[in-house]
Amino acid sequence: MSESAYKKALYRYCGGFIAALVLVYAMYFTTVNGWLSGAPLAALLLGLALVQFGVQMVVFLHVFDEAKPRWTLWSIIYSFVMLLIIVLASLWIMANLNYNMHMTPEQMEQYMLEQNKKGF
């Protein structure tokens, strides 16, 4: 590896690290100082986390530096589709649990209390 290639890669990592720090501080101070709350805060945090995720994947994990046919990149994309299905579908199903079991929330509460009394 030539000295100039080494320097170039080093600058790339420094840039990635600084970007990562800025993003973390932005998330932390917005949350802790209460500048935002509720849904707007959630949207901001998820947005910044996604940017942070992108920075880490591109700068440090070099996902776009792979030569064709890019098996790794396609495996990652496929896994993330599966991941989203697992996580979002779980949340969706559980959020509608009462409805899907033909119970009102009160009936569900009652049912859960009775089950708890039986112990596990």
Partner: protein, 193 residues
């Protein structure tokens, strides 16, 4: 790495290791889904906002991000033949990782000491399972790093050592990325949302 021409063996090893990491993503996905569903199930115990102390978590995050940077520089230095720089940055990685793990253990010991163990509620069970699984990965990563350094001390650098260092760096960056989501969804959401 773009500037580094990988041999057949190294690129195959890296692809195989990526497949392992992606299967690990599924484990964390299941734990995240469980946590998000159960975070309201506090059974009269503390809520997420009650137990989270944001400042140590910020320190943990900074330590892990910095260690992700130092391990990247160490791999780069190894490829450029700057072995002293590599060693220095690997020890920095180890110390930062150990700091992270120490802060996490302190958090766990505090919680259990105050009577808020994983047995108290569904929320705490899922919290300890998710954060603890990540902490276990970090512990294994630190052991891997120490073993690598011990081999390096004994045998010096060669192609195999270079390859294994590259895989370790992949593992470590991966744990950093998982932590970003823990920081966001467990800790920052717990404090502010």
């Amino acid at each position: 790495m773009s500037a580094h021409v990988m041999g057949e063996r190294e690129s195959t090893a890296r692809f195989g290791f990526w497949l392992y990491l992606l299967s690990d993503v599924m484990i964390f996905g299941a734990l995240f889904a469980t946590f998000m569903i159960l975070r309201g199930g506090t059974a009269g115990g503390p809520t997420d906002a009650d137990i989270i102390e944001p400042f140590p978590v910020l320190l943990q995050t900074l330590a892990l991000l910095a260690s992700s940077f130092t391990v990247a520089v160490a791999v780069l230095a190894a490829r450029a033949g700057k072995l002293q720089t590599m060693k220095l940055y690997l020890w920095a990685t180890f110390l930062l990782g150990a700091t992270f793990l120490g802060l996490e253990l302190a958090e766990f010991i505090n919680l259990v000491g105050e009577g808020h163990s994983w047995r108290e509620s569904a929320f705490l069970s899922s919290f300890f399972a998710l954060v603890g699984t990540h902490g276990l990965h970090i512990t294994i990563g630190l052991l891997w790093l120490v073993v690598w350094l011990a081999y390096y001390q004994k045998r010096g650098m060669n192609d195999g050592m270079q390859r294994r260092l590259g895989l370790f760096a992949l593992f470590w960056h991966f744990l950093d990325i998982i932590w970003i989501w823990l920081f966001t969804i467990v800790y920052m959401f717990g404090v502010g949302v």
